[in-house]
Assembly symmetry: C2
Homo-oligomer: 128 residues x 2
DNA sequence: CGGCATCCTAAGGGATACTG
DNA sequence: CAGTATCCCTTAGGATGCCG
């Protein structure tokens, strides 16, 4: 924030406030798969093998790790059904759903500005 | 999307549509520093050394790489002033500003649900 | 089916030294 | 001041094999 006298109240190190929040955000979502899983579960609960099939290219290991972390953060519930063969369902919690809502603007931005970025890249690359 | 008859029009592989957009998004922003730089520049233009000072822990190398990529994607402009010592200013483009706006809901979410996540984690960790 | 445990590599990114 | 170049190390994450 810039005051009328020209001084600024913005912290010299953004680490103080915003940076911490953003860091949290990145630590939680900025991996290769978390956002994809959240987005998928937004469409409804899924079992492990369904997620594995629907998320192109994910390994079993990474799906497990991703789901565990989402569960730990309270974004996803894990429900084990005592049947044979075993069946495990994953579902967004209300908190997870609220995250999904907060992500939508960003996904929308990516969609609408996809071309802008592509052309900006082309311009940059030819000039270089 | 789930139809009235219970069938779903949601693609089996989300790679088809949403996943691509999300992938784009992640490729662009899911690194350690890009979001931090964008957020900082949202407060106004900065020169290289200012960014370096304000972003706690970033190396000269990574700041350069991050800024180059943001410039390439058309999110940031780089202005070199022909003075000595050299002075280079970085500023958000309109596209960059629109991205910042799209990020705000997410940053807000992180702030409001910070405690929810922390307590969810504690619960998970003690039960494990 | 839904996982762990192990191994292994590719890439991200820090530290340092040099330059216009 | 604002980079570039080089080296090096840590980590994400893929492949594979085993188990309840």
């Amino acid at each position: 924030m810039v005051m009328e006298d020209g001084t600024s109240t913005f912290p010299r190190h953004i680490a103080d406030t915003k940076a911490c929040e953003i860091r949290d955000l990145l630590d939680r979502l900025a991996d290769k798969w978390s956002l994809l899983v959240v987005e998928l579960l937004g469409d409804g609960s899924r079992r492990f093998s369904e997620l594995k099939r629907e998320i192109d290219g994910i390994s079993q290991r990474m799906l497990t790790l991703t789901l565990r972390q989402l569960e730990r953060d309270g974004l996803v519930t894990r429900t084990v059904h005592a049947v044979v063969p075993p069946r495990v369902d994953y579902e967004l919690t209300p908190l997870g759903a609220s995250l999904l809502a907060a992500i939508e603007p960003l996904v929308g931005w990516a969609r609408t500005h996809r071309d802008d970025i592509a052309s900006a890249r082309d311009r940059y690359d030819v000039s270089a």
